[in-house]
Structures are given as C-alpha cells and as structure tokens.
C-alpha cells in the first residue's frame, strides 16, 4: 500500500532504457518518502527479468507472462495494470512517456479517476499550498513538464487523488544501479484470471521495429542540423563530421519536417532528449522546443550565419559563418591535429 510503482516497458525480452531510468528515479523518491519501490512487468518469456530489476533497487516485481502480453496491446495491459493498482493502491505510479506509456497511462488514470501529468522532465517530493483553502499538502509528487509548446515549465500536483500518475520523458533521468542490491519478491499473475474476451479484440498483424535502433541518446558527441542546413544533400557533410569525431547526427524539428533527415533523429521536445559531452548545432536557430531537448549538453558549439540566432545565447562557442565552409574546415583541422 502507498508505495511507488513503475510500469516496466519491455522490448521483447529486454527492459526498455526509459524504464530503468524511471526506476532509478523511483528508487530515490521511495527513499525520500520512506516507502517501497514496486514494478509491474508484463510480457512474454520474462524469465529472470526480476534479477536485473533488483539491481536497480526494486523490492517487489509484479509479473505476468503470457503470449497475449507481447507485443504490447492497450487493453490487456491496461486491464492488468488497473487491477494491480486497484488492489495495491500505490501513492505514485510512473510510466515512460513513450508510445506505450502515453497510450497506457491515460486509460489507467481514467479508470481510477486520478490525475496524470504527461511528459515530465523532473519529479521531486515537496509541499503544496492550496491558496484558496489555505490547506497545505505535504510530500506530494511535484511533476514538472514543459507546456504550451515548450514556452513555459509548469509544476503540476495532484493533491486529492491517489495514485499520483506521471509519464516521464526518455533520457531526462539517470539510470543508476543501487550500491547494495537485495533480492526482492516476485508476485506472478495469471492473465486468464484478469482478462476478458473484450480485452483481446484488437490484433497486431504486422510489426516492423528497427532492430539496430539508433542510439543518439547515448552518443557523447552529436552533430545536429536545422532548417539552415538547407537540403538533404547538405546534411552529408554533417554525417562526415560526426563520423570523423565518432558521434551521431541529429536534427531539429524544422529539418525533419523539411525532409532533410529522418524523424528518428529528431532532437527536442517532440523528439529525443540528449545530454552529450559535445553538441554541435549547425544552422539551428534554437527555438525553445529544440533547446528543451539539448540544453543540458556539457558543451555547445553553434555554427550559424545569423548572429542573432537564440541558440548562440546558450552556446559555449559561436561561429558565425557558412556551415558549408566551416564544417569541412573542422574536419580538416581535426584530422591535422589529432595525434
């Protein structure tokens, strides 16, 4: 009762990175309010999945293993998660802000008639004063998220209903194993007992998941291009720079929308959030939506022909000039100077 729950997303037999990130954050939140950390893990052939979860400080794993749970489908997962929540009455419930989590969490919130905050980038425990009733609520989950197209950061609370539900952006929280992992408990569920025929009417007939999923998120060097790159062909020089430096290529939403680069490389509020050692922004003006996805980079270099581009204000180095000349020169200089 009253514990922190995380819905653990499975990619076949592998635990999704985003889930481990949230579990790590969930561990810290549970410590702060002195409750247990529990995880719900639904899928097929999940043998031994708990071992990895225990390493991240999970104390109880709720597990259901059945063919009908993989690949993910809304209804069976929603029915099981809602059943477990109704029984266990969590204080906090966290999901990844992924295509799975954003599909699942609202259904749970609607079923349990509780609050849900989407796409959180920060979760902390804190107090809330209701200005109207002058009532103070202690130890609530303060859920921070960009809102209004990324122009504001809102802190959302759900003072009167439990569980406090949130989906959390991938890449914003740090994945961390605990120092002294302990073996926790496993509770298994038989889906047949909980699922109705009506939960199984939608069927997956085909799936194409890109196997070698791009891993820009974990790349320590990112060369990103914006609308200012001008064309798909011009992006080639960015790929060359990324190859030379051992990094990856990303793009702003404007570049993706213009078809210069694939959507899977989109960095920003509606794409991936990254925090590399080095971020080289080429022809990116730096709208707030883009900055939300990269401003935590350790070092930022901006190459732009517009001295007034907003991104220059958060860059450590600014090169005002034509990127079609600057980038080749960077490649050349690097090759000449690397030992």
């Amino acid at each position: 009762m009253n514990n922190v729950f995380v819905y653990c997303e499975m990619e076949d037999q592998r635990i999704a990175d985003v889930s481990l990130e949230i579990i790590s954050r969930g561990r810290a939140l549970a410590n702060e309010i002195d409750v247990k950390l529990e995880v719900i893990c639904l899928g097929h052939k999940l043998n031994g999945v708990e071992k990895e979860l225990f390493e991240y400080g999970v104390e109880i794993v709720h597990k259901a293993d059945d063919k009908c749970l993989n690949p993910y489908l809304t209804m069976p997962h929603a029915s099981l998660v809602a059943t477990i929540f109704e029984k266990e009455k969590p204080r906090i419930g966290l999901f990844g802000a992924t295509s799975v989590g954003r599909d699942l969490a609202p259904r749970i919130a609607s079923k349990l008639k509780c609050g849900l905050t989407a796409d959180c980038t920060e979760l902390v425990i804190g107090d809330y004063l209701d200005r109207k009733t002058k009532q103070t609520y202690q130890d609530l989950l303060l859920q921070r998220r960009p809102a209004f197209g990324g122009n504001i950061i809102a802190t959302i609370v759900t003072p009167d209903t439990l569980p406090q539900l949130a989906t959390v952006r991938e890449g914003v929280m740090k994945k961390e194993k605990v120092a002294n992992p302990r073996k926790g408990k496993v509770k298994t569920y038989n889906p047949e007992e909980f699922l109705d025929q009506s939960d199984l009417v939608v069927k997956v007939i085909e799936r194409h998941i890109e196997e070698n999923k791009l891993n820009i998120k974990n790349s320590s060097i990112i060369v990103a291009g914006g609308y200012g790159v001008g064309s798909k062909e011009n992006f080639e020089i960015l790929f060359e720079l990324a190859d030379t430096l051992g990094g990856d290529v990303g793009g702003s939403r404007a570049a993706v929308d213009a078809g210069f680069i694939g959507r899977e490389r989109q960095i920003g509020q509606t794409g991936i959030t990254v925090r590399p050692k080095l971020y080289i922004a080429c022809g990116i003006s730096g709208q707030i939506q883009h900055r939300a996805g990269m401003e935590n980079s350790a070092m930022i270099i901006s190459i732009n022909n517009d001295a007034e581009a907003p991104i220059n204000k958060i860059a450590d180095y600014v090169i005002i000039g034509d990127l079609n000349k600057v980038v080749p020169q960077m490649i050349k200089s690097y090759k000449e100077n690397i030992a």
Binding site: P106, K113, V157
Partner: protein, 291 residues
C-alpha cells in the same frame, strides 16, 4: 445496410507554433489573445481520415464534436467546409478549468448522447497541452478499445478496420472491430482544403448562441435550412455530474508556472576561418571533448 457513423473530436487551440515576443506576459503567464485560435493540427488530420472513410463507404456520416467557448463553433464550420455532415459544440462556463480527465468525461457524454457510433477519430494530442490523454480517456470512459498514433487506414469495411500506426522506432499494423477510437499521428496526410460549394452552403451555419446576435434576414435563412443549425449542448443537456467537471472534477492542479528564461552563457566567438577553427579543434582535442 447503412454506412459507418463516425465522430471526430476536435479542439480549438492557440497556435503555439508561432509564438512571438508578445505571447508571454511579464508575469510569465500566456497571453492567449496574442495567439491566433486554430483547428488543432492533428485533429484536422483526424478529420481527413474520417472523410476518407466517408469517400469509400457510402452513407457514412461524420459528426464533429468540439468543447470550448462559443467561438469554438469555428471548428465545426471548418469541418463542415471540408465535408463533415454536422457538428456539436459543447459549451458551458461550468466546464471551465477542466483538465484532461474532466474534458474526456464531457466528451464521452456527448458521444453517448449521439449514440450508436462505430468510430471515434481524434488527433493524438493538442498543441497547447501535448498530453495525448484525452483520446485514450474518452475510449476508457466509453468502454471501447483504442488504437493510437494512426498514420494510415489500410483497409476499412463495415465490420472492421485495418490501420498502420507509427511508433517511435517503427510501425505496426493492427486490425480492430467497431466500436473503436483512433488517435491520428502528425505523420498522417494533411487534411483536404475547404470545398468552395460547401463553404457557400455552410458559411452561415451557427449555434443558437451565435444566432441571437444576427440580423433578421439571417434568422429567416436558418428557418429555411435546418442544416445551418449547429447543435449546442451544455452541462444540463449532457446530464453531467458536476463533481466530474471543471476545476472540481480535475485532479491535476498547476502549482506554478515559469516562463523559460534561459541563462545566457558567456559565449566565445570563433572566427569562421582556418586559424579560428584550427584553434577551436586544438582546444577540443586538448580538453578531451573529442578524440
């Protein structure tokens, strides 16, 4: 046998994509009046999917539901101009302050009142909130399954629909029977433009609240043509329970809002010539930022 009965859920939103300097007030709140009110882009794409089904299956009807102030009737008209058959505006001061849970409650009541629908189609999310919650929550409240992030309808008949949905790292094809709710992803095709004939036909379509403000010859026009009446429902029409509406029915509260003021770093200007870039790359290598 008749065609399908389709409901499109659409929202009027401030255009957050083109936020200018005057969009934020000094106190950090949003100056909504400085932003144009538009048809939420993904909802417009959802309308297109509904119209494509209507093109394919004869006798299919498309009804738009929107919730908002009186001016949100523009959304209903925009949908009529593109081929929707009719529309309902849900409007009442008592809805004010509704979060996604309260909104989905109101929308689900409207869908129930319309009744016997096969398909509900809406955008994945609205650009002023980006929560993607209302679609799935409406589906849950109606007790029907959902398929989110639909990019394309591959096959549709009177019994079932096959759709392609867009995931962050791939695509999936699903088949589902009715009743069903679909949310449409931004990668789906754009909506067709207004049809000139429909524009002429429906340009005077309005809700009862709008109609009282109009001149007399206009009222006569409405007497002659029923299709010009946009249905308007309030809390009582929907028989809604006030505990689930507005601020009271909204479990999420905004504790505080910060305008994003990003800290200005001391940037170092690098000359775009060989010497400048050489210097920069040497520094990056020396400090192990690269290599």
């Amino acid at each position: 046998m008749k065609g399908l009965k389709i409901i499109v859920l659409a929202k009027q939103v401030p255009d957050t994509r083109n936020v200018g300097k005057d969009a934020m007030k000094a106190d950090g709140t949003v100056n909504r009046s400085a932003l144009p009110a538009i048809f939420n882009p993904e909802d417009l794409q959802a309308l297109e999917q509904a119209l494509r089904i209507k093109d394919q299956i004869p006798e299919t009807t498309v009804t738009t539901i929107t919730m908002g102030p009186v001016r949100a009737a523009n959304i209903i008209r925009e949908a009529l101009y593109r081929g929707a058959d009719d529309g309902v505006l849900i409007t009442d001061r008592r809805f004010a302050g509704s979060d996604t849970l309260a909104t989905s409650y109101a929308l689900s009541l409207a869908a129930k009142k319309i009744g016997k629908f096969d398909l509900i189609v809406c955008g994945r999310q609205a650009i002023d909130g980006d929560t993607a919650q209302v679609g799935p929550q409406v589906a849950e409240k109606l007790g029907i399954p959902q398929v989110t992030y639909v990019e394309e309808i591959l096959e549709v008949n009177k019994k079932k629909i096959t759709v392609k949905r867009r995931l962050e790292n791939g695509v999936e094809t699903l088949v589902a029977p009715y009743p069903l709710l679909l949310t449409v992803h931004g990668s789906a095709p754009e909506c067709r433009s207004r049809n000139a004939k429909l524009l002429m036909k429906f340009k005077h379509a309005c809700t009862p609240a709008e109609l009282v403000r109009e001149a007399e010859d206009y009222l006569r026009l409405h007497d002659l043509h029923d299709y010009l009446d946009i249905t308007e429902w309030n809390v009582d029409d929907l028989n809604a329970d006030l505990t689930w509406l507005g601020l009271k029915g909204s479990p999420t509260k905004v504790q505080r809002v910060e305008n994003i003021v990003f800290t200005v770093k001391e940037s170092i200007q690098v000359k775009p010539d060989k010497e400048g870039i050489d210097g920069l790359m040497k520094e990056l290598i020396a400090h192990h930022n690269v290599g």
